[in-house]
Symmetry: C2
Subunit: 218 residues, 2 copies
DNA sequence: GTCTATAGAGGGATAGAC
DNA sequence: GTCTATCCCTCTATAGAC
């Protein structure tokens, strides 16, 4: 996967790039604060104070606090869609690498997304707001959990059909592979709130991939 | 496991049972509201309005909004500690039942806890507040994730030593078994926010136990 | 696009009568 | 233990000058 810093470029919800320095600063600081205190725990005052503008100036960039939140998740969704394997490229990719390597590379791609200084915070926001906000809940359940399981199921079916792994229910394999990672990612982003060491949980993720692979190879 | 309705009995943080009907009502309604809108998203006014008392009356029961929150999590912690396998009873229990049955019964015990009408909401609160509140973070990371993994590791070591399952790293087995369940529980409580069907994810949990057992038996 | 000023509602918490 | 009344602060958002 090519190096990219795309993820720090924001767009408005109509697709226009956000270029105003103050608007970018509002996004950055809102993400930082929302991810630590939650949407309802952060006031417009908190945000504008750190940005260095008056409250009223924020409303030149966003119509409301809600629109600011929606813009953040709009960009998260856009960013997430890029780390899912592209259906049409699957065929070629799956032939050229081993299951083990493919899974390790996917995990690396996911971790790269979560490790992005901005996206790490939005992941936290997602876990934090999903109980309060139906849109966020749908992003998690559909865009993240649903899509990842579906695309993994496809991958495992292909491997099974090609006899590269043991015959099994591809849907169950996808769940067995992915759900532990979801839980571990949750722990990972939680540990990073306090700046605690994430060494154990990262090791756990690698051990999981190894264990899983050891149980499915022919 | 014997039927019990213990979980709906609250204690104050000094250990005294909460008996005042209004105080119980405050607890119930706070849990309901906090679990849907988050601590900072709910006001004392919201709570007392539903309880049917004036704001000032709440302060006869709790010194502050924070103390109310702490009391809720104090009771959650107490309740959680009861679903962990007791170290001293492990020996006997492990000899009398098969690994498969033991794991299925543990899962049933956990699901029973989460299905309790009150505790389901506090689980949601825990997922919701853990990013904002260090104490809640510690409850999740230590009392729940940490303790469950530790006690499961013990169980697997015993089985391995007794030759009842294939030799393996007990710590990894514990992680492989438990992490998917954590993620699935997260999805489960999330689905219940909207009253969506949890049939798929419950099936997923059972399939996980089956798959896991199939990979470890001798 | 930023500012000052302010509106108008809602926040947590307390005093003191009953 | 509940009430009325109130304090003082913070909240989101808008109007209008520059």
């Amino acid at each position: 996967m090519a190096m990219t810093t795309d993820s720090i470029f924001y767009q408005d919800m109509d697709g226009k790039p956000i270029e105003s320095p103050n608007k970018i600063k509002i996004m950055d600081i809102s993400i930082e604060l929302f991810s630590r205190k939650g949407f309802t725990g952060v006031s417009i005052r908190d945000i504008t104070k750190e940005v260095g503008i008056k409250e009223s100036s924020l409303y030149n960039h966003f119509r409301s606090k809600e629109e600011l939140l929606s813009t953040i998740f709009f960009n998260f969704r856009r960013s997430i869609s890029r780390i899912l394997p592209q259906e049409d490229h699957l065929g070629g990719m799956l032939q050229s690498v081993s299951p083990e390597l493919f899974l390790k590379q996917s995990l690396a791609g996911l971790m790269k997304h979560i490790d992005d200084p901005v996206m790490a915070k939005v992941w936290r926001m997602m876990y934090l707001e999903q109980y309060r906000d139906r849109v966020v809940r749908d992003i998690y359940l559909n865009d993240i959990v649903g899509n990842m399981l579906k695309s993994l199921e496809k991958v495992f079916s292909i491997w099974i059909a090609a006899g590269r792994i043991q015959p099994a229910d591809a849907r169950i394999l996808a769940a067995e592979y992915q759900y532990p990672l979801f839980a571990m990612i949750g722990v990972y982003v939680l540990l990073r709130v306090d700046g605690s060491s994430t060494w154990d949980i990262e090791t756990g993720m690698r051990e999981h991939v190894d264990y899983f692979v050891s149980k499915i190879i022919v």
